[in-house]
Amino acid sequence: MLPWLLRRVAAGIAIVFAVVTLTFAAVHLAPGAPFLPPEGRPVNPAATERLRRAFGLDRPLPEQYVRYLAALAHGELGESFSRRRPVAAMIGQALPNTVLLAGAALLIDFALGIAIGVFQAAHVRGRSDVALTNLTLFFYSLPTFWLGLVLLLVFGQWLHWFPVGGITDPVLHDALPLGGRILDRLRHLALPALTLGLVAAGGTARFQRAALLDALGQDYVRTARAKGLPERAVLVRHALRDALLPVISLLGLALPFLLTGAVLVETVFAWPGLGKLAADAISARDYPVVLGTTLLVSAAVVVGSLVADLITAAADPRIRLSA
């Protein structure tokens, strides 16, 4: 297993390096330039040039790249062009918010997706199965930002059940007792997490249904039934245990989906996470922040994929991590 692990780690580092290199090239070659004044404000060429020099943008691109890698090797992600703060501090501030959002969405995704998939498999080809198939397909097909806007409009603006944006109430939060602060945070989390979680759950449910139906056709399930076990026990203890394995591997794939989905959802709900940070940075041509967030997300996806493989291997003794 160790050689496999070392190979995967080496491959992971190579992937992250390639992503950072491609992103570095892409952001510098893309149209638009940093430090231009906001639209409709006077141009100050001296200030723009001084900022370009201060942030090293007057150097040749290969030199900038080498300098960036050298700084990266020392753990430095640079200073934000637009917010004039260390990128690491900005990411440090945004990361917990994205982890919270992605974690809650993952919970909704898998809890709801697995439950629906199991229910459908247990009632296969029944009316409820057909209805849920259509419903999950509907949610799976929805663009996350559109669903987010609809939820925001209905439950935020019309019904006032949930806040329309942000992570906490800026006026009341600090004055609330612990329970109130938790509730305040949950209220703000609800809509963005549901947006991400519902779309992802649509896919997970379809996957779980197929995996469970596959398992229900296996010989060991027929044997369990022949032994006279109740159908619930057959489904939950025998078939589902087997059918969960491919869903676990889905966990690794869910991470990139959630992180990319977070870019749009965080923007819609003004959720101050990595996605919104990256989207704002792209608009402002804030190269260090774009690179920093890309680096982190690509590393997270690589690690997530590795962890999912390890969990799958731990859960399924048939899998040997030697290839």
């Binding site: 149209p31 639209e39 900022l51 200073e79 806040p163 004055a175 329970g179």
Partner: protein
């Protein structure tokens, strides 16, 4: 050991615990005149809170609360002479000779960390704003001032290089006085990223509390503010991703104020909300279509279409601006007869008129310049080249996208093809700066005076003259306006200059929006200054009988 049968109930118990704890939330105790909390919905985050290094609108809004000027514009004040200004840090001022202006500081003024505000701070501020290492955007506006000295702690002496009508405006408007004792030792080259810009100490009505990037910025009233205690106890900016999201916060009651609504649908949303009062005020922006008079991406040659003034004039005549205005703004904007914002009300005079909508005359002009539809495809051509151009439009402006579509339709009627290129502002900005465009729809925020913005955008050597418009007569006229001795003379010179500009048609002036702010109806004494929306915030108040829980909390 918890029995396994209880396990499913644990989440319910936890939820009930949270709910009951939440129900025990403290009730705020602040009562009386000084308890209000105002949440402002902002459309972008702050860059830095160190005034000389930022020109962003949101940053300037916050500067207005934290830092004072020597004197400020009165709500309806003019920029010529000093009669339109009210004291701030300076209690009084006098002209000791035509080129020397002496300010006497108010001895009650204090920095929020304790020391008195002194004339040495004023001299230090001038030195910082004019330092090339900082390259402040206001440096050019201060170039008429030769020196600022501090003969004693309460006297600041400004010496000018020459005499002109807006000397006083330049002396006070561009600089927010900075604390020398906190900034003198910060290397000027590092001011862009200085810690002070993230936690400033000022002398204004509000003190900095905290800034959570991407989320909120909070200020608290300085109860010892020497010009009078601010009534609103807390002011919080809440940053949204765009104007729609910001308006949604205000409509949903999660924010109390927004400075602009812009479009009729937004205005209707605010009106329908029921809890908001709308405050119209003269807008500081104007929008126009700019022609590039040089070839797209090649500044050494004239533009094949827009290099010809008759073609530009024809396009102006072929544009039905009144219909576009009605279609997009339903009456909430005006057509400027020149490069004018509504805050320059004194320039909206009958002598300046909008050219008529006259497609017949436009067609005649185009035909006279050789542009005819020779192949019957509906687009005029000359020498095998179609009368077709690309129009840059920022993807973030729904209003200008609507205008682009309407322009496309109207110009098609006279045989001109408009190809709309929507792009994000950063890309459009780069194309404009590089001269890589045919025409663009732009919006500009202007100062309270036309002096700086008109020359910058339309003057031959203006840094924002992206279309390369050049006319020595126009330059002379705006120079005359800037140096006119009286408001009447300045007005006459501006009218002449805008007449020249209209004749040359380097662009089509499209609209100047009636700004409308929406503020929660519990807020009283709301006054909005066109050039600086929140400058008078410290005089707003929430009457004690209208305070809600959000106003009282933490008191």
């Amino acid at each position: 050991m918890i029995p396994s049968s209880w396990l499913p109930r644990i989440p319910v118990v936890v939820a009930l615990g949270i709910l009951s704890a939440a129900a025990c939330s403290r009730r705020g105790g602040c009562r009386g005149e000084y308890c209000g909390t105002l949440v402002i919905a902002g459309t972008s985050d702050v860059t830095t809170l160190l005034p000389p290094v930022s020109d962003a609108a949101i940053d300037r809004d916050v500067f207005d609360q934290i830092f004072l000027r020597l004197a400020d514009l009165a709500p309806d004040g003019g920029t010529i002479g000093d009669s339109g200004f009210v004291p701030q840090l300076a209690r009084s001022w006098e002209w000791t000779d035509p080129l020397t202006l002496v300010f006497h500081l108010d001895p009650r003024a204090r920095w929020q960390d304790g020391p008195a505000v002194t004339a040495a701070d004023v001299a230090f501020t001038f030195d910082a704003y004019t330092d090339t290492a900082i390259a402040s955007g206001d440096r050019g506006a201060l170039s008429h001032i030769a020196s600022v000295t501090a003969p004693d702690s309460l006297t600041a002496v400004f010496r000018f290089r020459d005499r002109y009508p807006e000397m006083f405006f330049d002396a006070v408007f561009h600089m927010r006085i900075l604390p020398a004792h906190l900034l003198a030792n910060v290397p000027r080259g590092t001011w862009q990223t200085a810690e002070f810009g993230r936690a400033p100490v000022g002398d204004g009505p509000y003190r900095f509390v905290r800034w959570t990037p991407g989320q909120t910025l909070e200020l608290a009233a300085d109860s010892a503010f020497f010009l009078g205690r601010p009534h609103l106890r807390r002011v919080i900016w809440r940053f949204a991703s765009d104007l729609n999201a910001a308006i949604t916060q205000v409509v949903a009651g999660e924010a109390d104020a927004i400075e602009v609504l812009i479009t009729p649908p937004n205005i209707k949303r605010a009106q329908d909300a029921g809890h908001l009062t709308l405050y119209p005020y003269a807008g500081p922006t104007y929008s126009f279509l700019r022609f590039n008079l040089r070839a797209n991406g090649d500044g050494s040659h004239p533009h094949p279409i827009f290099g010809d003034p008759d073609v530009r004039r024809a396009l102006v005549l072929a544009t039905d601006r009144a219909r576009m205005l009605q279609s997009v703004f339903a009456g909430h904007a005006k057509i400027p007869p020149g490069p004018m914002t509504q805050q320059w009300q004194w320039l909206w005079v009958p002598e300046l008129t909008v050219p008529p909508y006259d497609t017949a005359q436009a067609a005649r002009l185009l035909a006279a310049r050789g542009w005819r539809d020779t192949n019957g495809d509906g687009v005029r051509d000359r020498g095998g080249k179609k009368l077709s151009f690309h129009l840059l439009v920022p993807s973030t402006s729904a209003v200008r996208q609507q205008y682009a579509t309407l322009l496309q339709e109207q110009l098609k009627a006279v045989g001109v093809e408009v190809l709309i290129d929507q792009m994000e502002p950063a890309t459009q900005g780069e194309r404009l700066h590089g001269g890589a465009f045919d025409a663009a729809l732009e919006s500009w925020n202007a100062d309270p005076t036309p002096t700086s913005s008109v020359s910058g955008i339309w003057g031959r050597s203006g840094p924002s003259n992206f279309g390369h418009y050049a006319n020595a007569t126009f330059d002379r006229q705006i120079a005359t306006a800037a140096s006119a001795a009286t408001p009447e003379a300045a007005k006459a010179a501006w009218i002449a200059a805008f007449g020249t500009l209209a004749q040359d048609a380097p662009g089509i002036m499209l609209f100047s929006v009636d700004n409308i702010a929406a503020v929660d109806s519990r807020v009283a004494d709301v006054r909005i200054r066109p050039d600086s929306w929140w400058a008078l915030l410290w005089t707003w108040r929430i009457p004690p009988d209208k305070l809600n829980e959000r106003d009282r909390v933490g008191g």
